[in-house]
């Protein structure tokens, strides 16, 4: 072994040593992680609609029916400054008509999010959280999300509500009453 080879092997060992240490860390997280919104931190600022590299955003509004009050005058559905409780666009909170309302029985209505239309502006979420049960909330939909290494919404989220979750449990649900 000449001097050059000797130096080479020392150099190689020195460079490789830190990775051996890092290998110990990897075992805990084999499956990888995904981005998700923690609904308890979300303040519905509207960045989810704007900052995602996809348009429309990979974030969508989710309706957890089990927590819904099925109200006739839904504060997620109707605008604060509505003139009438009818289905005219000026009275509705959703700017893209993504909330579909169907009559069930007097005086209850079911509210369903049309995800093809939803742009994740969070307006209905805010309304529902302020006056209602908070059964509407925003979630990153993993069939749409590209799972960027650095999520662009996470970088601008003023509430720090974007967290990394294990891929085996990719959604964070709101929950009221008994588990479903």
């Amino acid at each position: 072994m000449n001097r050059r080879n000797f130096l080479q092997s020392i150099f190689a060992v020195l460079l490789a040593a830190p990775f051996a240490l890092l290998f110990r860390r990897t075992k805990s997280a084999l499956p990888g992680t995904l981005w998700q919104i923690d609904p308890s931190k979300c303040i519905q600022c509207g960045q989810c609609a704007r900052a995602c590299i996809l348009r429309p955003s990979a974030v969508k509004c989710v309706h957890q029916y089990a927590a819904c009050g099925y109200c006739l005058f839904c504060s997620g559905y109707y605008h604060d400054q509505r003139h009438k409780f009818d289905t005219a666009a000026e009275n509705l909170r959703c700017p893209v008509d993504a909330i579909e309302r169907t009559y069930i029985e007097d005086p209850y209505f079911e509210y369903k999010i049309n995800e093809d239309k939803c742009i994740a502006c969070g307006k209905c979420v805010k309304g529902c959280a302020e006056f209602g049960n908070g059964s509407l909330f925003l979630q990153v939909r993993h069939n749409l999300c590209k799972n960027c290494n650095q999520c662009h919404i996470a970088a601008v989220c003023p509430a720090g509500a974007f967290v990394r979750v294990p891929a085996s449990r990719p959604y964070i649900f709101k929950h009221a009453g008994e588990a479903k």
């Binding site: 050059r4 130096l7 080479q8 190689a12 460079l15 990775f19 240490l21 990897t26 805990s28 997280a29 084999l30 499956p31 990888g32 992680t33 931190k41 303040i43 590299i53 996809l54 348009r55 989710v62 309706h63 957890q64 029916y65 089990a66 927590a67 009050g69 099925y70 029985e105 079911e110 369903k112 959280a129 209602g132 049960n133 059964s135 979630q139 939909r141 993993h142 069939n143 999300c145 590209k146 799972n147 960027c148 290494n149 650095q150 662009h152 996470a154 970088a155 003023p158 509430a159 720090g160 979750v165 891929a167 449990r169 959604y171 964070i172 649900f173 709101k174 929950h175 009221a176 009453g177």
Partner: protein
């Protein structure tokens, strides 16, 4: 189904007679491709090794680039890639964040490859590089000194990225990567103008991002410093025609130099003495500049900027609103801000020192005694394995597919 928190039950759910609650359908995550990516990366490294060392063919390398662009770039949309994983590694090492095994493999394989046989990763396995390599247009060769100066940019980027990641500012590289919007097919990307700038630059310069920005390239340079197997332009006696040197747009070919005259030698020695004497000053300057630059990064840090906004209280701000809603104690926030400031300050000071040391090392390397060989050889730390010099060398063994240029 994970963590829960209680929603306000202002309106209890009604009891319906016939109506059943609709099932909440949440899609599973799309297939996690990172392990597959690591496997493919290994294959591509072997492929580029074969094309570069065995076949010695630029055509084959370009084909491999095309394949790499299609597979890693457009099929697997380039993310995560080894370049960005630099940040995951730094984060995991500094904060103990989880690091998937596939990420570590993606990061280590090209470096190990560089340790043994040069920067083969840059020749086919990197979609960012492939996009630049396949750019048409005449590539201008910058003067070597200017090229070396611009290459310092990559070192600076690496250090900045490390400081940002460790301080918890996020992954700046993934946000600013100019080629990522193309692979993600995102046309409302906030930094789309960078994409345009780098694509236009790629028409004039060979691999502008790889040479002047890529922080992973700096690591590859370091690892290939003492590579076992090195590319050789020709196994015949070099006739010093300089065709290979002119063909290399990356300034990676070292031309033979005639022995220095005594006067030149004396001047060189004087310069070396000056350089050696200025080491402490340069290091101090680097460290000081890093320390002084720390406040520039403060506004990017969440806790620090939030603390500032809380103190100013000029107008209601979303971040302040969120902070108040979270009911986190202010002391906790200011502790986090202090920690952030400390990390940024020490990180940037260290970065300044390291950067100064890098510049000094490059200058000192210029001062070493020249090898006595009178042939053109490749500097494997700068060589991006494009194969242009093989093509240009008149002594390259003719292949059946190529006409014999010697006759």
């Amino acid at each position: 189904m994970t963590t829960f928190f209680l929603a306000q039950a202002r309106f209890p759910a009604p009891e319906f007679e016939t109506y059943r609650l609709p099932e909440l359908v949440m899609e599973e995550a799309v297939f996690d491709s990172s392990l597959l990516r690591a496997g493919l990366l290994l294959l591509f490294l072997f492929g580029s090794g074969y094309c570069f060392y065995r076949r010695r063919s630029r055509k084959a390398l370009l084909l491999l680039h095309l394949l790499g662009l299609a597979v890693f770039g457009f099929l697997l949309h380039a993310c995560p890639c080894p370049v960005g994983i630099v940040q995951n590694i730094a984060e995991a090492a500094a904060t103990g964040a989880p690091l998937p095994l596939a990420y570590l493999l993606l990061f280590t394989l090209p470096l190990l490859c560089a340790l043994f046989c040069g920067r083969l990763f840059c020749a086919g396995a990197c979609p960012l590089g492939a996009l630049q390599e396949l750019m048409p247009g005449k590539k201008f060769r910058l003067p070597p000194a200017l090229d070396r100066f611009f290459r310092l940019g990559a070192v600076l980027v690496l250090l900045l990225v490390l400081v940002c990641t460790v301080a918890g500012i996020g992954f700046p590289l993934c946000r600013l990567d100019p080629y990522l919007p193309i692979f993600l097919r995102s046309f409302n990307h906030p930094y789309l103008w960078l994409t345009v700038v780098f694509l236009l630059l790629g028409l004039l310069l060979s691999r502008p991002f790889c040479r002047y920005i890529c922080p992973y390239g700096v690591l590859l340079r370091l690892f290939s410093l003492l590579a076992w197997k090195k590319p050789v332009i020709t196994t015949h006696d070099c006739i010093n025609c300089r065709l290979c040197q002119q063909s290399c747009p990356n300034n990676a070919i070292i031309a033979p130099e005639s022995a220095a005259s005594p006067a030149q030698r004396k001047r060189g020695l004087r310069r070396l003495e000056l350089l050696l004497a200025s080491i402490p000053l340069a290091l101090a300057l680097g460290g000081f500049l890093g320390y002084a630059a720390a406040p520039l990064l403060y506004p990017l840090h969440r806790a620090i900027s939030l603390e500032q906004k809380l103190q100013q209280r000029a107008e209601p701000e979303l971040a302040v609103e969120a902070f108040e809603k979270s009911q986190q104690p202010v002391t906790e926030l200011s502790a986090a801000a202090d920690r952030g400031r400390r990390v940024i300050r020490t990180g940037l000071t260290l970065s300044g020192l390291l950067f100064a040391a890098w510049v000094l090392a490059e200058l000192l390397a210029q001062a070493r005694r020249r090898p006595e060989e009178d042939i053109h050889c490749i500097d494997q730390t700068l060589c991006l394995c494009c194969g242009r010099c093989y093509q240009a060398c008149p002594l390259e063994k003719p292949r059946p597919s190529q006409p014999d240029r010697r006759t």
